[in-house]
Amino acid sequence: MHYSFDFSVIWDNFGVLLAGAWLTLRLSLMAVAFGLVIGIVGSLFRTSGNRLLNGIALAYVEVIRNTPYLIQLFFIFFGLPAVGLKLSAEQAAIVSLAINFGAYSTEIVRAGVESIPKGQVEAGLAIGFNKLDVFRHIVIPPALANIYSSLVGQVILAVLFTSVVSQIAAEDLTYAGNYLDARTFRSFEIYFTLAILYLAIVWIVKALAYVVEARFFEFAKYRQ
């Protein structure tokens, strides 16, 4: 083994990686934001008591959770143009990531809502809160506290999933790595650096999550 490591390819092409990281960040944020909206609507469907709405949401959740993201991405990017829905690589990436995150967050949010005992709602109504206030002050804070760590875990998985969009030539961080690898053949240096960059993003998300938890969900530590 006479390989000499040369990480200069990283410094020389830092701009390319930075541009890729920027798209990765934007994709992650949009996937989580849109996915959460889908998740909240989906969880309302799941808990509505209406069998049709529940069935639709359940089918959506099961189909997405039991098929690989790669297939979902290809289905949307390569498949949908056949029915007249042609999306750019970035659009397909955002739509597929949001649909994927939405399915997981549907179940997480549902679990949160169902974790609040009915008695708490009734008690809130009994002491004169209106429904909205009960929801805001009695249901939401402990429900969020209950699902917070699962939600953060799912956000991290979503960030890591974004790497797959490089396969439809959306120019994210992994795509930037493929691009540099094809030109320099410094595969190890490039992919190892990329892995460390993703790890850094994941640790930043974890650190932010910890700060938010300490600030907003302190109360949840003393329950039970």
């Binding site: 083994m1 390989y3 099961e62 189909v63 959770r65 039991n66 098929t67 690989p68 993201y69 790669l70 297939i71 979902q72 290809f74 289905f75 390569f78 498949g79 949908l80 143009p81 056949a82 029915v83 991290i156 890591l160 999933f161 974004t162 790497s163 797959v164 490089s166 396969q167 992994t174 790595g177 690898d181 053949f185 410094r186 595969s187 190890f188 992919y191 190892f192 990329l194 892995a195 460390i196 993703y198 790890l199 994941v202 640790w203």
Partner: protein, 216 residues
Amino acid sequence: MDEFTLSRTFINLIIATKWTIILSLIAFVGGGLVGALIALMRISSNKLLSRISWLYIEFFQGTPLLLQLFLAFFGFSVVTGINLSPLVAAAIALTAYTSAFLGDIWRGSIQAVPRGQWQAASAIGFGYFDQLRLIILPQAVRLAIAPTVGFLVQVIKGTSLASIIGFTELSRAASLINNVTLQSLLIFGLAGLIYFALCYPLSTWSQQLEKKLAYK
């Protein structure tokens, strides 16, 4: 070029599914063995072992599986000069990925067994490994079964990324057929259906186990 009729497309996808299943089994067995070691290191009172296993879990849980595959396939061959076949590279990367998650799940299951069980076992004279083997693990296994079956679904879905380093399993077969026929909606729909048929029973089983084996 032969015509790709619907039935021929379907048969080709089914044949490729064999490799999805084989790769999943390799990753699950390999990942289970390494994962058991990682879990034991993680609960060890030896600081160094515990730190190493922590870093291992952080790395493989905190980086994309796709990059782990690239490192095993492209990175390894560039550094060592040894060319791994796509199957071997995929098996190594998926084993590492699976072991990190299973190691973490099993560490959680072991640590969920109340401390009093360790103390009681110690009080009646069992040594560390007998405490673990006879008292703790039987209870931990009960807790671990449902999430372990659930994770098998993630492994099966994860094997789809092996297609990107050129291993011909279900996803790559679908891509190849799609390149010829361009019937993307149908082909990726069928591939999704086959994945669903593999994963859904496991998901359902995992949920049933979770209800049945909840710690009482």
